[in-house]
């Protein structure tokens, strides 16, 4: 019996996926002069209240096109409901005062876009962060 349970435990440990990091990294273009920002800044950037960094350069915000787990957790982090956020973006867009976040398909595209766009910010799972971008905040689960 003991042998059976030991075998079962070994099998299960192989079958179970390696636990994913639930931490979210808020990433920015590697050339950004800013090294860290707080949750309030991220919220204001995604609600388009802040459209410029302190040095006057433009903040380009990226977001995911489809509803994903990381998007849901990010919205919870910035304390915003999707419908309310869409309404905020629409008001800015339709009055010419700003443009909504640019949509990307997946985390690979997010990393690529943030890496190539000056002043850009986005978010990915911490474990996926590459050297091409800089982490400015880590969101704990």
């Amino acid at each position: 019996m003991r042998l059976f349970f030991t075998g079962l435990a070994i099998c299960l440990s192989f079958m179970m996926k390696e636990p994913q990091s639930e931490k979210i990294a808020i990433i920015a273009h590697a050339g950004l002069a800013v090294d860290s920002v707080d949750a309030d800044f991220i919220t204001k950037a995604y609600t388009l209240t802040f459209q410029r960094w302190e040095d006057g350069s433009k903040i380009t915000v990226f977001n995911y096109k489809d509803d994903t787990d990381i998007k849901t957790r990010f919205y919870a982090y910035i304390d915003q409901k999707p419908a309310a956020l869409r309404k905020v973006w629409l008001r800015y867009q339709l009055t010419g005062e700003g443009r909504p976040p640019r949509a990307v398909k997946n985390e690979k595209a997010m990393l690529d876009k943030v890496a190539e766009t000056e002043g850009a910010i986005g978010y990915v799972a911490l474990e996926r962060v590459t050297e091409d971008v800089k982490i400015i905040t880590i969101v704990e689960p």
Binding site: R52, K58, D79, P82, L94, G96
Partner: protein, 391 residues
């Protein structure tokens, strides 16, 4: 030449020269432009069923006239085309063309207009300067009253609804329609955001020359009157509130009262609690009139309670009321009750709305056109279905 005349001339010059310059600037790819030209827009298609009943009575003369009217209308209520370009890190240009009511120059209905053409200089979020043709900041809804994908309504609160101007041609008296220069910005202190706006514009549209035969060019302001206005607002996570005001002159020359100084006072309040949002506005229009027996003053209010049922479904109910001391039958006010549902699956917003407008015992005073005073009762039921498509 006083300051008032100088400002009026400057605004008139801006009106005639700045808008075409902005159009040229935005369409020609300028060297060093930060971003490519963005072209986008929306249209809204409407399906209306209207059932209207009116009665005009004068018990003293034994007069009692009743009218009933029903109609079913399909139309493209509105199509807007926006052009936006970030010319540099500090400058943004914006052009907004608007087409309304199935516009056809051949058939002579609808309209095509340049609604906005401005350039914005961003100094800091606390100081932005806009020049050109723009919709000024006045209460929460004025800037977005024609942005149909943003609004759950098919029929908007009374003074914001252009399609019922046959009922209320005084609508434009409540709102500053356009400005030519605006300074505005945002200050942040802790969890609170404070916004402000100050603007200048022409006299009201009634003073604008629309006769190409006279020596003043068509579209030019024929007065030295200036619109001056502003707004202050505060926003927290759940509450937004603002106070607005404007001063200009009301064209009452046709009825012998001249250009009457006019003050608009507005307030708006929005409160969000969970899935529920309450939005409301109040506008009071006051006139400085030399005739104590006459009043041109007006009042408007609306309140909408909405429930975000899910990410895509919104349910709302509204009450709206408008009163005019001077306009026939509006002395006791017109009220409107709305109930509606909006569904937003993606870039399409589907809307369904029921609206009931009513006037109870309004007065039409005796005049040259109406020889005896009349009591008006009016009721209109409207069922509306619409969809807004963003492109």
């Amino acid at each position: 030449m006083n300051w008032y005349k100088i400002m009026a001339d400057a605004i008139s010059l801006a009106r005639r020269s700045l808008a075409p310059m902005i159009l040229l600037t935005i369409l020609i790819n300028p060297c060093g432009a930060e971003e490519p030209l963005e072209v986008f827009g929306f249209f809204q298609a409407n399906y209306f069923f209207v059932d209207r009943q009116e009665s005009y009575t004068n018990p003293f003369f034994g007069l009692n006239r009743r009218y009933e009217h029903q109609r079913l209308t399909f139309n493209i209520q509105q199509l807007n085309l926006f052009l936006r370009r970030e010319l540099s890190s500090k400058l943004t240009a914006w052009v907004n063309f608007e087409v309304t009511n199935d516009f056809s120059s051949n058939d002579g209905w609808g309209s095509f207009s340049l609604e906005e053409a401005w350039v914005k200089y961003f100094h800091h979020r606390s100081l932005n300067i806009k020049a050109g043709l723009m919709i000024p900041r006045f209460n929460a809804m004025n800037e977005v009253k024609n942005r149909m994908p943003f609004l759950p309504y098919v029929i908007r609160p009374l003074v914001y609804e252009a399609s019922i101007e046959d009922l209320m041609p005084m609508n434009r008296d409540f709102l500053p329609q356009r400005a030519y220069f605006q300074v505005y910005g945002l200050f942040i202190s802790g969890d609170l955001q404070y916004d402000y706006a100050l603007y200048l514009g022409n006299a009201e549209d009634d003073f604008i020359n629309d006769d190409p035969e006279v020596t003043i060019s068509a579209g030019a302001d024929t007065t030295t009157n200036v619109l001056v206005g502003g707004r202050v607002g505060v926003k927290s996570h759940h509450i937004t509130a603002g106070l607005s005001t404007s001063f200009d002159k009301d064209n009452q020359i046709p009825i012998g009262l001249g250009a009457v100084p006019r003050f608009r006072l507005g307030s708006d309040l929005a409160i969000t609690a969970g899935r529920f949002t309450l939005e409301s506005e109040l506008i009071r229009v006051l006139h400085d009139l030399d005739h104590p027996e006459l009043s041109l003053d007006k009042t408007f209010l609306y309140g909408t309670l909405s429930a975000q049922l899910s990410e895509k479904w919104l349910l709302y109910g509204s009450y709206t009321w408008l009163q005019d001391d001077f306009f026939p039958s509006m002395d006791k006010g017109m009220s409107g009750i709305y109930a509606g549902l909006a569904f937003s699956p993606n870039d399409i917003l589907l809307k369904f709305q029921y609206a009931r407008f009513s006037i109870v015992d309004g007065t039409i005073r005796a005049s040259e056109q109406v020889p005896i005073s009349l009591i008006t009762n009016f009721e209109q039921h409207t069922l509306a279905l619409a969809f807004s498509v963003s492109f």
